[in-house]
Amino acid sequence: MSAAAPPPLEIRGLTVAYGERPVLWDVTWAAPQGLTAIVGPNGAGKSTLIKAALGLIPALSGEARFFGRPLDEARMRVGYLPQRASVDWDFPATALDVVCMARYPRMNWWGRVPRRERDAAAAALAEVGLSDLAGRQIGRLSGGQQQRVFLARALAQDADLYLMDEPFAAVDAATEQAIVAVLRRIAASGRNVVAVHHDLSTVPDYFAHVLLLNGRAVAAGPVAEAFTPTNIAAAYGGRLNLLEHASVAPA
């Protein structure tokens, strides 16, 4: 990539409030190429940042640009992985049905799912190791498998930037490893991920860049430079014994 290429995601002056309470305050930040984690304490506005960038919740001010363009012009290049808890997993659908949804913008609004799109969805399921469970109702999958279905759905969007909201939340070790492998493949193919992440101990292992968020952008940059005890303490307000936590190697 040339230095002049616009960043995958650029946030300018983003302010979001829930009622009277501001959640994000004048956040200006650009996600670089590669894998980036957004970390911060509960209520820091991590998910809000992603949702506001995608226009899912209204912003009081500010804008988000994707690859230098407004969202409407770059939508096909942006994949989204929402929090697993945000949907009803009793919904009548199989794992493959859910992944197919990613391809809906490429189809008619009605009629059968074309074979080409179904194959693309099946390939995405294979990438997360769920081929065997393609026909299973999503409510009968384990939590980790559900998370991988969501990951497969994001992958099936065939995007250049994936916005992921807590992809590692409450998953088993096997799923965590499967997700990490997918993230690395995405990065190796020159594509990008911005993920809300809650486990500070794995940030250096899984991600190249980090944004420390607590209502405002506290610090951002390569993990080696920005993910320092001082910055972490600044973002978390010294509420946890994070300095020790952050240096723990992942299991």
Partner: protein, 313 residues
């Protein structure tokens, strides 16, 4: 019973029951999947001011002006619910409750102010409908079914019901995929670029239209029952989206027919002297259907099925 009697006395009511209950069942599938079952109840109340205004402006209890008024009211109520939810940061159920009671109260006030009350909105009819009063006097035999002049003589409620049923059927067909994503994961639908808000609005307007069209024939209680019961029953029986949606419509229509037949014609044929209110029987059957579905599901649970796989399989 002769064919002419059937065509004149039973067919209009049967058709009205099938169209009203089938349409409500179809739309109810989406409400149940969105976990907004009571929105049907809310919308069927919220349309009242629109109906009254449509009635007051035209001075007649004609279908179309009242339908247009109802749609306007439903749209206003939907937008207001969204607005209240955002501005006050309360959950959607509370916002819905606040808005629909306000609209219904406004409708009652308008009813008094415009004098609509004195004309013809009788409470029994509103609640239970008047399915049995639908007759087709122009029918002279089976040939009437193909005779445009005779068909024009069908009760106007049937014309409205048929029009709304066709419109709702088209809407659901054309928006099949967007509606599916909207029901499962509205945020994801919006992230993919689907106009999620406008889809929600379209769905709510369709529910309002179905409620208004069915209202006179089968009554508001039955509309609410048919928006919830068939879809809830199917929800207990199937894990297939297509079957859930189409099955809800079919179950609604079937319950409509069964309820009408059980209420009058069947007891009469068996020599009984008591006829029941058809809408009441249909509503009761809706509840029975849900109970049967729950029972069936419980029985099926007893048989072995593939267990949840171990994590990380």
């Amino acid at each position: 019973m002769s064919a002419v009697d059937f065509l004149r006395l039973d067919l209009p009511a049967l058709l009205a029951a099938v169209l009203a209950c089938g349409t409500a069942g179809l739309l109810g599938a989406f409400l149940v999947l969105r976990r907004e079952s009571l929105l049907g109840d809310a919308l069927s109340h919220a349309v009242l001011p629109g109906i009254i205004v449509g009635f007051a402006l035209t001075g007649a209890r004609a279908g179309l002006p009242m339908l247009i008024g109802a749609l306007a009211a439903a749209m206003a109520a939907t937008l207001l619910i969204t607005l209240v939810r955002r501005a006050a940061r309360i959950e959607s159920g509370a916002a819905t409750g606040a808005v629909f009671t306000t609209f219904f109260a406004l409708g009652l006030v308008l009813m008094e102010v415009t004098g609509a009350r004195s004309v013809d909105l009788d409470l029994d009819c509103v609640l239970f409908g008047q399915l049995e009063t639908l007759v087709w006097l122009d029918a002279t035999g089976w040939g009437s079914l193909l005779d445009p002049a005779a068909l024009a003589g069908l009760p106007r409620q049937l014309h409205l019901l048929a029009g709304v049923a066709v419109a709702v059927g088209l809407l659901v067909t054309l928006l099949w995929r967007p509606l599916q994503i909207l029901c499962f994961d509205p945020d994801y639908a919006a992230a993919l670029g689907y106009p999620a808000r406008r889809l929600e609005l379209a769905l709510n307007m369709a529910v309002a239209a179905a409620a208004v069209a069915a209202f006179e024939a089968v009554g508001s209680i039955l509309v609410v029952a048919m928006l919830v019961c068939p879809a809830a029953a199917l929800r207990l029986l199937t894990d297939d989206y297509r079957l859930q949606v189409l099955g809800s419509a079919a179950a609604g229509a079937a319950i409509g027919v069964a309820g009408y037949l059980l209420a009058g014609p069947l007891p009469a044929a068996l020599g009984g002297t008591v006829a029941l209110n058809a809408a009441g029987v249909i509503g009761t059957l809706g509840g029975v259907a849900v109970a049967c579905a729950a029972l069936l599901r419980a029985l099926r649970r007893g048989t072995p099925r593939d267990a949840v796989a171990a994590p990380g399989a």
